[in-house]
């Protein structure tokens, strides 16, 4: 195959990762040259060299990354940019906290209902930009960003205002009782000391489900058709508005589920009352890009980024401050994603650019 544009997508993902790692290494050198190499090796191998706990942590960190990546990637397939994953995540988290703290009578089903409620709230939070986009032609990016803030302040206000939910001492939501948390499925035994639980299984199942929806069903056929060619979809009688709403509802539901799972993990995660939007939704964008929006690809990109995060944790053994770890991991994540955005951008404008190039030269005779 000689066509230059035809890189296999995974090759460019790999290239992006390599670039991100190089930049990360440079940052390590800048902040502490003597231990940079050792630190870099730790990022790459830390998750594997600290027993089963490291592996477990990778799976734990991967859970929300995979789910949020799926959320963003699924919307991408329909031509939508779900930058509202964080808001949906937070709504899901809130839903799970409410059920987890107020419904002990549900017994063994408490976590199930908690997750369902998280899904519901996330779905509603996705439906709003979907409906606005479909029927009022309001750009989903703008609505999503605004809803991120709406959810942040509304959840803060509600949690703070409720005696049942609020732990005033720590300025965060109360601990979820152990009975209301997700089953561990023996993971706590296999990966001793890590936080991994059944959430990772749920995330992988959701990925497989989405893959089946996109590839095997008429519904997925329609969603992707709308994303690829609106006009042809219209010609074929596909209801684009409906596809947009469904796509956003599903994307929101998945992000909401991610929020629910994190809060019901029983690992000390709380809704903290501060003016910061949870980063999970944004990380989802990187994960989706790195996994080229393919649900199965997203599993692997999510695991990869989690792997770096877990490895980065052990950087503390060398004399890097804790913040450096976050910076480096973030740089790798974002640089990877950034490289991919550039690639996508170039691809889309390739034809236009080509024209530009030869026009520039072609003008010599004019």
């Amino acid at each position: 195959m000689k066509r230059k544009k035809d890189f296999a997508p995974f090759i460019s993902s790999l290239a992006a990762i390599v670039c991100g790692l190089i930049i990360g290494f440079i940052i390590l050198i800048l902040s502490n040259p003597t231990e940079a190499v050792a630190g870099f090796v730790t990022i790459l191998t830390g998750s594997l060299t600290h027993g089963t706990k490291g592996v477990g942590q990778v799976l734990y960190y991967a859970t929300p990354l995979i789910l949020c990546g799926l959320s963003v990637g699924f919307a991408f397939k329909t031509g939508l940019f779900n930058i509202g994953g964080s808001g949906q995540f937070l709504m899901g988290a809130f839903g799970a906290v409410v059920i987890g703290l107020t419904c002990p009578q549900l017994g063994p089903f408490q976590w199930v209902v908690g997750l369902l409620f998280a899904i519901l709230l996330g779905a509603i939070w996705g439906a709003i930009p979907g409906i606005l986009k479909a029927y009022f032609n309001v750009n989903e990016v703008i609505t999503c960003i605004m809803l991120n803030y709406v959810s942040l302040f509304w959840v803060n206000m509600t949690v703070k205002g409720s005696k049942v939910l609020f732990n005033a001492l720590r300025n965060e939501s109360k601990d979820i009782p152990k009975v209301a948390t997700l089953p561990k499925l023996g993971f706590d035994v296999i990966f001793d000391g890590s936080s991994v639980n059944s959430g990772i299984i749920i995330a992988i199942l959701v990925a497989i489900l989405l893959y089946i929806i996109l590839e095997k069903t008429t519904f997925g056929y329609e969603l992707k058709a709308c994303g690829l060619n609106k006009n042809a979809s219209k010609y074929a009688g596909i209801n684009e508005n409906r596809s947009i709403v469904y796509s956003m509802v599903i994307a929101g539901a998945i992000a909401g589920l991610a929020g629910g799972i994190m809060l019901l993990s029983g690992t000390g995660r709380h809704i903290e009352i501060k003016d910061v939007i949870p980063s999970e939704g944004f990380n989802g964008i990187s994960v989706a890009l790195l996994g080229v929006s393919n649900p199965i690809g997203v599993i692997f990109s999510g695991l990869f980024i989690a792997y770096l995060t877990a490895g980065g944790f052990y950087l503390q053994l060398f004399h890097f401050s804790k913040e450096i770890i976050d910076i480096i991991v973030a740089v790798i994540i974002y640089f990877s994603a950034f490289a991919l955005i550039i690639k996508k951008f170039l691809e889309r404008y390739n034809e236009k650019k080509k024209d530009k190039e030869y026009n520039l030269i072609g003008n010599k005779g004019a």
Binding site: T217, T218, N229, A236, K354, D355, E357, I361, N363, A366
Partner: protein, 518 residues
């Protein structure tokens, strides 16, 4: 001149071989373009013409072979290099930015700035001059997305003209032009030749090749069959060399036996852009089962809008549409598609295909949800694949990977065949076909024309929009002429039709007193 005889050639492509995933698209092809000649490239759909030109323009890289430009060996690996060497190209599928104006598209990349502002005024002057010189009726400020395919094509040609390349590649430039425009285009090509430019010209239309080309290279299945002097061979010989058999372009058809009214259109109007007058104005007509009604007219006189209004992709301002007596005016597109209307759209890339889906998925674009192809929400992949294979056989659709070929990678003519196969095969009572044979080779046209007549004989009503008079004359049982959004004439006796008279109606020089259709 010079010590190298090859300097008589503007371009020499020697032993070019290129394959996609091990399937050969150009097989040891040699092509020589003399300086100052018009050289035609002829071949069936998928023969490898566009691929060869893309190699020359630096968009594809050949596996082996050499390219000489003006006697010097060159490595052309991108469009920039091609342009440095004076090579320009108008692609088969236009490369225009849809939400830019004509002017902006033409100056794209050559914008000169003055204190940060585009010096559009100078460019505009030149564009207007060129428009006048070549008689292009274009508004430089119209947006590409609002103009017809024909006008977009003219913009592309204009873009080439704006840049004065010495070696010009035209990949099927005339496929969508009206007969008048083609005549004008022929004159342009002749003028360019007189100015000393060397021109490579791809066309499926033998008349054009006979008229304008000096020599012609024939490709078949990726191989170079021959290069001939055009005035030494007949059209029949050309098409035989190309297809490998005799082709009969005259359609034999029995007189139509029209039955019930299938399509009834009454007082249909479609609004124009804001501030402009209606594109379709109070149009009424019928199409009966078992007849082929052709809408003739010059591009841009409301034909596209009329069809879009009927099929539902554009809203109606007023009027009614009935299919088989049932009111379809306010039905959804899906309902229309599944209750009798088949539609071969004007712009195959914009409307007819999802280019990034494979052929199988495109083949069921109108039917993927039907029982036959889906089961409780799941696509029946096996059925879809089998169905696609059947149609590939029946319509001789050529590609590199059969049903799983991504449509974007297929040749233009074969993309068109997917749409035709799909729309002809799905259940319907009315076939609406806009320029159905656009970009098809003579062999394929012969087959499609026969299929359309066969449809008619099966009792389907056919509404055909075509700018090609030959096609209209060949197929029509009845002709309606559209001018400025109105139907201005109707002809029923096609055999004895006076072409000049038809032309007069099309140009608005004359109109019949159209009675209300009963």
């Amino acid at each position: 001149m010079g010590n190298n005889a090859n300097e008589n050639y503007a371009i020499e492509m020697k032993n070019i071989t290129l394959s996609f995933n091990k399937k050969i698209a150009n097989d040891n092809v040699t092509l020589r373009l003399r300086k100052g000649e018009v050289h035609a490239l002829l071949g069936e759909n998928g023969a490898g013409k566009s691929t060869l030109m893309n190699v020359l323009f630096g968009l594809y890289k050949a596996d082996s072979g050499e390219i000489y430009v003006n006697g010097k060996k060159e490595v052309i690996d991108n469009a920039v290099t091609a342009n440095k060497l004076g090579i320009g190209m108008v692609h088969q599928h236009f490369k225009l930015v849809h939400n830019f104006t004509i002017l902006e598209n033409i100056v794209l990349g050559v914008e000169e700035t003055h204190l940060g502002l585009l010096k559009l005024a100078d460019a505009r002057k030149r564009v207007v001059e060129l428009c006048n010189k070549y008689h292009f009726d274009l508004d430089p400020d119209a947006k590409i997305e609002d103009i017809t395919v024909g006008m977009q094509q003219r913009t592309e040609i204009l873009k080439m003209l704006f840049r004065n390349n010495d070696i010009m590649i035209f990949d099927e430039p005339t496929a969508v032009l009206t007969p008048q425009e083609i005549r004008e285009f022929m004159t342009i090509v002749k003028n360019l030749k007189a100015e000393g430019k060397s021109i490579l010209f791809i066309s499926h239309k033998l008349d054009e090749i006979k008229e304008v080309a000096d020599r012609c290279t024939i490709l078949r299945k990726g191989k170079c069959i021959a290069t001939v002097d055009v005035d030494k061979v007949s059209k029949e010989e050309l098409s035989e060399m190309m297809v490998g058999r005799k082709v009969n372009l005259k359609v034999d058809k029995a007189p139509a036996k029209p039955g019930n009214v299938v399509l009834e259109v009454r007082h249909l109007s479609v609004a124009g852009e804001r501030g402009h007058k209606d594109k379709v104005r109070d149009v009424s007509f019928d199409v009966r089962a078992g007849e082929i009604v052709c809408i003739a007219g010059i591009d841009g006189n409301g034909q596209s809008e009329l069809i879009k209004g009927i099929t539902g992709t554009k809203p109606l301002k007023s009027g009614t549409i009935k299919i088989d007596g049932q009111d379809f005016t306010h039905k959804s597109i899906r309902y229309k598609n599944t209750h009798g209307i088949s539609h071969i759209p004007e712009d195959r890339h914009r409307d007819g295909l999802i280019l990034d889906y494979d052929m199988e998925k495109n083949m069921v674009l109108q039917e993927y949800f039907e029982k036959r192809f889906s089961h409780s929400g799941f696509l029946k992949e096996k059925e879809i694949a089998e169905y696609t294979d059947e149609l590939i056989d029946e319509y001789d659709i050529r590609s590199m990977a059969g049903g799983t070929s991504i449509v974007r990678n297929m040749s233009g003519g074969n993309q068109q065949k997917i749409i035709i196969a799909r729309e002809m095969t799905k259940e319907h009572k009315l076939m609406i076909a806009v320029q159905p044979t656009r970009g098809l080779d003579v062999g394929a046209i012969e087959y499609i024309h026969k299929s359309i007549v066969k449809q008619r004989d099966m009792g389907i009503g056919v509404l055909l929009v075509s700018f090609e008079l030959e096609e209209v004359m060949n197929l029509a049982d009845r002709i309606l002429v559209m001018f400025e959004g109105e139907i201005v004439a109707e002809f029923t006796d096609i055999q004895n039709l006076d072409l000049n008279e038809l032309g007069l109606y099309m140009a608005g020089g004359k109109r019949m007193n159209m009675k209300e259709v009963a």
